[in-house]
Subunit: 132 residues, 2 copies
DNA sequence: CTTAACCTTTACGTTAACGTAAACTTCTCT
DNA sequence: AGAGAAGTTTACGTTAACGTAAAGGTTAAG
């Protein structure tokens, strides 16, 4: 019974999304689950793709940008031209991710500085009034 | 002449946004430039805030989430309660940022793996036909 | 057999984050 | 004075990414 495919509700639990979201992604050609009759079944490949979608969203990429990147999950019998294009797209995404990483690191430092200042202010609060 | 305030168009250049965007952020109380007659002037503080907005957007935060964080830029004569709340909010954001950082790092690794595979495929392409 | 759980399609609704157009002021330059 | 550049307010429009409701098919349990 424990096949290596997931139902739509299992996917929903796993990625904390609604069925609507998964169908929406399918409509946008980000996912293409197989069918058992009417029902959708998500293979390991779809799970992998959904993983990327999930991460991509958290990093602020649009679904369209994510869709481009997902080409890397095919890599079937592609034309050389297409294969190279996919590769180039991947490289660009990689560069963007690395940029964001740097930006993120310095943002974390900035926020830590702000928090330190905030903490100082809290600790040096004027002891209120005098009545105690 | 070179005051330490920026006009709206200077802000637009600096952050690569339209005037509409800056006015929109003002409407949402993310920014509050001073006025010279009708015209908006952005002080160093507003520039600092806009810096955060810009980063926040790139990391996938909503404007509402960013607005909360921006409280850290006031730190004026706040009530202790409010100050602590602001501090807590900041801590949560910091934790989220750190999570995203980890996620980002492993995503970069994953993408690099995919790209390596893709590169392999390109290099091992069947030399087409034979006619040459 | 029928009820419930789970799935489906179709289609209109909603929210965030701006875009865009119209009509007006203010300043500077010639 | 007249033209242009840069700014303003007001308000309707747009797009992405789903939410939500209606109406119905399928399968296991009682």
């Amino acid at each position: 019974m424990t096949n290596d495919t997931l139902t739509i509700s299992e996917m929903c639990v796993r990625f904390d999304v609604t069925p609507r979201t998964l169908r929406f992604y399918e409509d946008k050609e980000l996912l293409s689950p197989i069918r058992d009759g009417q029902k959708r079944l998500y293979t390991k490949r779809e799970v992998g793709r959904m993983q990327w979608i999930s991460h991509g969203k958290r990093f602020g990429f649009s679904l369209e940008e994510i869709r481009e990147l997902l080409e890397l999950y095919y890599l079937g019998d592609q034309q050389e031209t297409q294969l190279r294009r996919t590769y180039e797209t991947g490289l660009k995404h990689l560069a963007t991710l690395k940029d964001k990483k740097e930006e993120l690191i310095s943002s974390i430092e900035d926020l830590e500085t702000l928090l330190t200042q905030c903490k100082d202010q809290i600790e040096n609060l004027p002891l209120r009034a005098a009545a105690e």
